[in-house]
C-alpha cells in the first residue's frame, strides 16, 4: 500500500515528556485507493477521550460521512431504509480502538472497541471484544485502526510488525466460517518462528450483509451487536491479521506502582465479587431471572419459562462437559464452553462433539426466547451463530418474532421453498420450541437463503415493516436493535436504560439493571430517581468501556473512580488527572453518542420501548400483572434528559473537545 503522509512522531504526551500509555496516532487505511497514513491524535484529545468507546466515538465523528440535514421532524420508512443502507456506503468508517491500559497486563485490560454506523439501527454501533488482538492492534496500528473505502475484491488486511498495511486477496477465504477463516489466515501468515498473527474476521453472514453480522476474533470472541460484521462485509474485507512489535508497547509512567496495583487487583479479581462469573459464568442468570419473572420467553409473551431448569447454568454445569476459557491477561475466565456431550460421556450425541461458548444472552435468545428448552439444541444454535458470524441476541430475537408472526397467520407456518433449489428451512414448521427449526432458520439467515432467510437477515424492524399487519407490535427492538434478556416490565430502571441507550436495546452500554437487582429501588415500580440512576449507570459503563476494564470486574473495585484515576495516572504520567476528570470524560461520551445519532436522524420518538412492553401486563411469574405505561416511561425519560442536562427534547447542542 502507498503511504500518503509520513508517519508522525508518536509524540511525547506525558508530563515528564515521555510517551506513556498511548501511541499518539491512528492508522487510517483506505481500501478503495490502497493508501494509508498515520494521523496524529492530540494528547489533549486522548486525555479527554480516555480510549476505547470514548476515543472511538470521537473518531467516528471525525472520519464519518458528512452529516445529513433533516428538515422534517419525522422520517418515513423509505428514508429510514435509505439511511440504514447508507451504512454500507464506502465512506462509513470501521474503527478499532484500543486503550491506555492495553498492554499493561492489568487483569481484563486486553480489550478493544469496534465502532461504525450500524446498518441495523442507522445509529452508532459501539461494541467491545477482547483478548490478544487488542494487544497486537495497539502495537501495529497505534491507538486506533480506521478503515474506510471498499476493496475491489475480497480482501485480507495484513498489518505486521513494521506497521505497514498490505491488502491481500482473500477469494479463498470467502464462504468460510469465522473459525475456519482465522485458522486459514494463521496458516497462511504464520512463519512458525515468531509470535502468531491475531485475526479478526467475518463469516458468511458478514459477507452477505446480514444486518446483525458480528466480527469474530481470537477463536470465537465477538463484537456482536449492531452489525459491524456487515459493514466489514460491505467493504469486501473478509479478515484483518495483525502482529505488532512488543518493543512498541508504550511504557507505563510508573511501572513499579502499576505492577503492585496489578497484583492487588488480580488478587481481588479472584474474590467473592467475581465468583459467579468465575464459577458458573453468566449462564447462571437463567434460573434467577426465571424466578424473578424477568426471563423473556417466547418473544416476550411471558417472563418465565417452564423449561428454564433444563437450560439453567446450574444443570448445564452438572451435566455437560465444560471447560473455562480466558481472554488474554484475564484472571476471571467467565467464558464457559459447553459440549453437547454429557459429563460422563454416556449422552454424547455426535462424533464431532459440538461445543460452544455460552453466555446468558446467547442462552436466553436461542433458548427461552424461541421456546427451546433442550440444551443440545441451544448449544448447536449458538455454535451455528458463531460459525456464521451473527449476533446471537438479534438472531434469536428475529426468529422469535417470525415464530409469533407465523402463529398469528401473517407468515406461512411452513417456510416457503425458494428458487435457488436450496432447501434450508423449507418445509419445517414455524413454531416455538423446535430446535431443529431454529437451527435451519439460522443457516438460512446467515446465507440470506430463501424468503425467510432474506427477510430475517434484515432484522426485526425491517422484517415487520415488510410483512405489515400489526407485526411491529410484537417486533421487540429499540432503535432497530433486538432486545436483550432483561424484561423491562419487571425491571423498571433497566426499562429506561434500554429505551435511551444510543445504540438501541442494549444491556452493555447501560448497566441500569444493577439498581433493579438491589435494595435501592423497587424494580416493579417507577419513581423519579430512575433518570439519575440510569444516567449514572451509563456514565459508569462509559468509563469502564473507555479505559477499558471488563464489566465483570466492577465489584472488585473499592472506589471505582478514584482507583481508575490512580491507574490512569500511573499509566500515562498525567499526574494531575483525577476522578472528577474521569467522571467528566464519561459524561461527555453520552453527549457525543447522542450528537452522532442526531446527525443521522435521531428523533425523540426513537427513545422508547416496543409496543408490547407498554401495552401488555406480564402474564406470569412473581411479577404477574406488572405493567409499564407509556406515561410512566415518558416520565422516566424526561428525568433522564434532565439528569443529562439535555432539556425536554432530549437533544444535545454543545459538543465537548473534538480538536484532533
Amino acid at each position: 500500500m502507498m503511504s500518503s503522509t509520513a508517519a508522525p512522531d508518536a509524540g511525547a504526551i506525558g508530563n515528564d515528556g515521555r510517551r506513556h500509555g498511548y501511541r499518539g496516532y491512528a492508522l487510517v487505511v483506505n481500501l478503495s485507493t490502497g493508501e494509508y497514513r498515520r494521523d496524529p491524535i492530540a494528547p489533549a484529545l486522548l486525555r479527554a477521550a480516555i480510549g476505547g468507546i470514548g476515543l472511538g466515538v470521537r473518531l467516528l465523528h471525525r472520519y464519518g460521512a458528512p452529516a445529513v440535514d433533516y428538515p422534517g421532524e419525522e422520517i418515513d420508512d423509505a428514508e429510514r431504509l435509505r439511511l440504514l443502507d447508507a451504512a454500507f456506503d464506502p465512506d462509513n468508517p470501521l474503527i478499532f480502538t484500543t486503550s491506555p491500559l492495553v498492554g499493561t497486563r492489568l487483569t481484563t485490560s486486553s480489550k478493544f472497541a469496534v465502532l461504525t454506523r450500524s446498518p441495523l439501527t442507522g445509529f452508532i454501533a459501539d461494541g467491545l471484544s477482547s483478548s490478544h488482538l487488542a494487544v497486537e492492534l495497539k502495537r501495529a496500528c497505534g491507538d486506533a485502526l480506521v478503515i474506510t473505502g471498499r476493496a475491489a475484491q475480497p480482501t485480507l488486511l495484513h498489518i505486521d510488525t513494521d506497521g505497514v498495511p498490505h491488502l491481500r486477496p482473500a477469494h479463498d477465504l470467502m464462504g468460510l466460517s469465522t473459525m475456519d477463516t482465522e485458522a486459514a489466515v494463521k496458516a497462511r501468515l504464520d512463519d512458525g518462528g515468531r509470535r502468531p498473527v491475531r485475526v479478526a474476521s467475518i463469516g458468511p453472514a458478514g459477507e452477505r450483509l446480514v444486518r446483525f453480522a458480528s466480527i469474530a476474533n481470537d477463536g470465537g470472541r465477538q463484537a456482536g451487536r449492531c452489525g459491524p460484521g456487515a459493514v466489514m462485509g460491505s467493504k469486501n474485507l473478509k479478515a484483518i491479521a495483525v502482529r505488532g512489535n512488543p518493543d512498541d508497547d508504550p511504557p507505563a509512567a510508573d511501572p513499579e506502582g502499576l505492577r503492585r496495583y496489578a497484583r492487588d487487583l488480580s488478587r481481588r479479581s479472584l474474590g467473592a465479587a467475581t465468583a459467579k462469573y468465575r464459577e458458573l459464568g453468566t449462564v447462571a442468570n437463567v434460573s434467577v431471572f426465571n424466578r424473578l419473572g424477568t426471563l423473556p420467553t417466547r418473544n416476550f409473551q411471558q417472563s418465565t419459562f417452564e423449561h428454564a431448569e433444563a437450560v439453567s447454568g446450574e444443570l448445564l454445569h452438572q451435566t455437560r462437559a465444560t471447560r473455562t476459557a480466558h481472554c488474554a491477561n484475564c484472571t476471571i475466565g467467565c467464558e464457559k464452553v459447553f459440549s453437547v456431550s454429557t459429563k460422563d460421556g454416556t449422552g454424547q450425541t455426535d462424533a464431532a462433539g459440538v461445543s460452544a461458548r455460552l453466555e446468558y444472552e446467547s442462552l436466553f435468545a436461542l433458548g427461552p426466547l424461541v421456546g427451546v428448552g433442550e440444551p443440545d439444541a441451544v448449544i448447536r444454535a449458538v455454535r451455528k451463530c458463531d460459525e456464521l458470524g451473527m449476533d446471537t441476541i438479534s438472531a434469536g430475537g428475529v426468529i422469535a418474532w417470525a415464530l409469533e408472526t407465523a402463529e398469528r397467520g401473517l407468515l406461512p407456518t411452513l417456510n416457503q421453498p425458494h428458487s435457488s433449489g436450496a432447501t434450508g428451512a423449507a418445509d419445517t414448521p414455524l413454531q416455538f420450541g423446535d430446535g431443529a427449526t431454529v437451527l435451519a432458520l439460522l443457516d438460512d439467515i446467515g446465507h440470506r437463503r430463501g424468503f425467510l432467510g432474506g427477510l430475517l437477515a434484515d432484522g426485526v424492524r425491517l422484517a415487520a415493516a415488510r410483512i405489515g399487519g400489526d407485526s411491529d407490535d410484537w417486533a421487540m427492538h429499540v432503535k432497530g436493535l433486538e432486545m436483550p434478556g432483561y424484561e423491562p416490565r419487571s425491571l423498571k430502571t433497566m426499562a429506561l436504560g434500554l429505551a435511551t441507550t444510543p445504540r438501541g436495546a442494549c444491556h452493555n452500554r447501560s448497566s441500569a439493571y444493577d439498581a433493579d437487582f438491589s435494595p435501592d429501588v423497587n424494580r416493579l415500580e417507577v419513581d423519579d430517581r430512575r433518570g439519575r440512576i440510569a444516567a449514572a449507570s451509563e456514565d459508569y459503563s462509559a468509563a469502564l468501556d473507555s479505559l477499558i476494564w471488563c464489566k465483570f470486574l466492577r465489584r472488585a473495585f473499592g472506589d471505582f473512580w478514584e482507583e481508575s484515576a490512580t491507574v490512569y495516572r500511573m499509566v500515562t504520567g498525567w499526574d494531575d488527572f483525577n476522578a472528577d476528570e474521569l467522571r467528566q470524560a464519561a459524561a461527555q461520551i453520552a453527549d457525543l453518542k447522542k450528537a452522532y445519532n442526531q446527525r443521522w436522524g435521531w428523533r425523540r420518538s426513537d427513545d422508547t420501548l416496543p409496543p408490547r412492553t407498554l401495552t401488555e401486563p406480564l402474564p406470569d411469574g412473581v411479577a404477574a400483572g406488572t405493567a409499564l405505561t407509556p406515561a410512566e416511561l415518558d416520565g422516566m425519560i424526561a428525568d433522564y434528559y434532565a439528569a443529562r442536562g439535555w432539556g425536554v427534547n432530549g437533544r444535545v447542542d454543545a459538543l465537548p473537545l473534538m480538536s484532533f
Binding site: S287, H507, L524, V622
Partner: protein, 112 residues
C-alpha cells in the same frame, strides 16, 4: 424460643454456585420470628454447612457470627431485595419474616 416470638417455617431457594455446593435447590428452615439477619445466616449455616465459605462466611475471626458473603444477595419471595452488604448492613436489625416466606440466595451480579 425468645419471648414474644413464634416459630415459623420458611424456605431458602439456592441459586448458582450455592445450589451446586449445597447439592439441593431448596433448604427448609424452622426459625424464630422475628429474627435478625445474623440469626438467619447462622440458622442456614447450621442446616446447610456446605454453604459456609461460599454464600455464607464468618462475620469476624472472634465469634461464631455468620454473614451473607460479599457477592451474594438475598431476595424475599422473588420481590424485595434485602440489604446484605456487610459494610453498611446492620445484621442485628430485625428481619421481617412470615411463615411460608421464601428467601432467595443468589449472586448479586446480574450481568449477562
Amino acid at each position: 424460643m425468645a419471648v414474644g416470638s413464634a416459630t415459623v417455617c420458611i424456605s431458602v431457594e439456592l441459586f448458582g454456585t450455592a445450589r451446586i455446593k449445597a447439592g439441593v435447590g431448596v433448604v427448609p428452615l424452622r426459625v424464630d420470628a422475628p429474627m435478625t439477619l445474623a440469626q438467619f445466616a447462622r440458622a442456614l449455616a447450621q442446616e446447610c454447612p456446605a454453604l459456609l465459605g461460599n454464600a455464607l462466611c464468618a462475620a469476624d475471626a472472634d465469634s461464631n457470627a455468620v454473614t451473607i458473603a460479599d457477592g451474594y444477595a438475598l431476595n424475599r419471595n422473588g420481590l424485595d431485595f434485602l440489604p446484605t452488604n456487610p459494610i453498611c448492613t446492620d445484621y442485628n436489625a430485625p428481619l421481617d419474616l412470615r411463615g411460608g416466606d421464601v428467601l432467595l440466595l443468589l449472586s448479586n451480579q446480574a450481568g449477562g
